[in-house]
Amino acid sequence: MAESRDDFIIAIRSAFLKKSTKQKFSLLTLVFFSIFIIVLSSLNFKAISVTKTVIKEIVYRSSFIISLPENFIKSSYLNLIEYTNFYEEYKITKEELDQLKSENISTRIIKSENNELKSLIDGYTVTSNKILAKVIVDHESPFLRSIIINKGSKEKLKIGTNIYDRSYLVGRVIEVNYTNSRVLLLTDLNSNIPVSITPGNVQAIVVGNGDKKGEIKYIKNDLVNKIDDNGIAYTSGTGSIFKSGIPVGTVDLKDENKKILINFYSDFTQLKYVFAEIDELTPTFNEIEENDQTKVSANTEQIKLNLINDELQILEDSNTKFQEENQELNTLSNELNKQIEILKAENAFQKNVIQQYNLDKKELEFLRLNLIYSSKCQSKKLFSDGFKVGTPEYKECIMQKGKKSD
């Protein structure tokens, strides 16, 4: 008994403390090192933050380079799948594009009106500046859903900056380094998004399910029935974590576990480039008026001018659109007229052919009857009652098969 305990202790000591010739540190030292680093990483000292930032900068860049071959294989595989569905998708996209083009103009008008109204209410307008960022690391951990982008504090990104794929929300920045940042995706279990669901204007919180979808949580029970399948979820702006009115996804009520899920508009596994929105507060007319009366007149004129310019721009766009449509219709009309002319000409030609055919047919009939009845209709003798060949009477006689009219 004592012997086996001794063996156990020897084995444990050997595992923890014995250092083979090639090892620089014993395992126990490294365990203490790890625990020390874990404790340090939970503290917010500046020196630690700087060290962490430097390590992250190096590691993210290295990871990007090392991932290149795998990313190449991955993108080739995805491209192959994409090409097989290319034509069908092209047709659908073309239809959608036409529809969106027409909606775009009205959206711009609404945006302009919205900005005007916001400036009257808040005293500040938020001018957003979206910058393009490349996704440099997007390896999904099974436990955390995040990506690394190549923009950081150098480009004025900060913790909480909203990240978009086109105009759809994909997440927010949770860690900022000098030239890169980590973005927590909406699918992560730690992601909470306050949303409004339309129709019904139901307020809820969407939490990532760690996979591909979001799940609606924290909603009043009596409001659950108000939610429709395929209803649209957009950010409500509550809590000021996300801006209001950003499309998030559509409601999916077909879950087997009767959970209310959200299908996000964006496919987070396919992100290559994203937009980071840098907000800047711009004082509006009301704010300027309170602070500096002298600057007001000039700024007011400028704001008015800007608004007029905006309206002018929108009108010009509408005009251009109408002109384009008009031109298209004119072209179409001309083409149709040309086609009518061609058809008319064809019609006349065919009529002519038919007429000629009828004449030929009549002539042929006359010649055939002439062979049979010429003896009956011709005037051969002095007092016979026939007609002279070539006269209309003769022809009539032939056509009536030798019967003479009075």
Binding site: D7, F8, I10, A11, I12, S14, A15, F16, K18, S20, K22, Q23, K24, F25, L27, L30, V31, F33, S34, I35, F36, I37, I38, L40, S41, S42, K52, I55, K56, V59, Y60, S62, S63, I66, S67, E70, K74, Y77, V137, H139, E140, S141, P142, F143, L144, S146, E175, R182, L189, N190, G210, D211, T269
Partner: protein
């Protein structure tokens, strides 16, 4: 079979292959996640570290394993030191198993590996949940654990061949 001339640069590189693979896998998150198979994931570094620590491979420097853990934490976005601790704990348990084993048996090693990764994943889950307030899905941990366990036997065949080629 490829034969190397010893002290050749290529041979040296070949002998460092386990460590190189470990670093590539932590930088690259080698787990076939892009196949988008629901819930499928496994932890390749766990398999690699356990096998080579168990076989007392001379080039398998624990300090480099520790550094690989730090890099893994940075890439995945976990608090620094978590993966390093996990990797070093695997090394400790593997060394302990090596010390108490007289005649190695693959199946015994395999089930011992299951016990080790379950324990380490539990420690990871507890630290992240209790000290760092991470919201985590325990199902994903269990599935990851299960697939890591399954893949051990497959990878151990390749690793055995590799060690044999080095000895030859």
């Amino acid at each position: 079979m490829i034969k190397f001339k010893k002290k050749n640069t290529l041979y040296k590189l070949y002998t460092w292959l386990p460590i190189l693979t470990l670093f590539i896998s932590v930088f690259n998150e080698f787990d076939f996640n892009y196949l988008n198979i629901d819930y499928f994931s496994f932890n390749f570094p766990f398999i690699l570290i356990f096998y080579f620590a168990l076989k007392e491979y001379q080039r398998f420097d624990y300090l480099l394993v520790f550094l690989a853990g730090l890099f893994n934490d940075t890439v995945v976005g976990l608090p620094l030191g978590i993966s390093s601790l996990s990797y070093i704990l695997i090394c400790i348990f593997a060394t302990y198993l090596r010390n108490i084993t007289i005649s190695p048996n693959l199946i015994k090693d395999w089930f011992y590996f299951l016990f080790i990764i379950s324990l380490i994943n539990s420690i990871n889950f507890s630290i992240l949940f209790l000290f760092f307030s991470y919201e985590l899905d325990i199902t994903l941990f269990i599935i990851n654990n299960f697939f890591t366990f399954l893949f051990y036997i497959i990878f151990s065949i390749f690793f055995k061949r590799y060690l044999k080629s080095i000895d030859d």
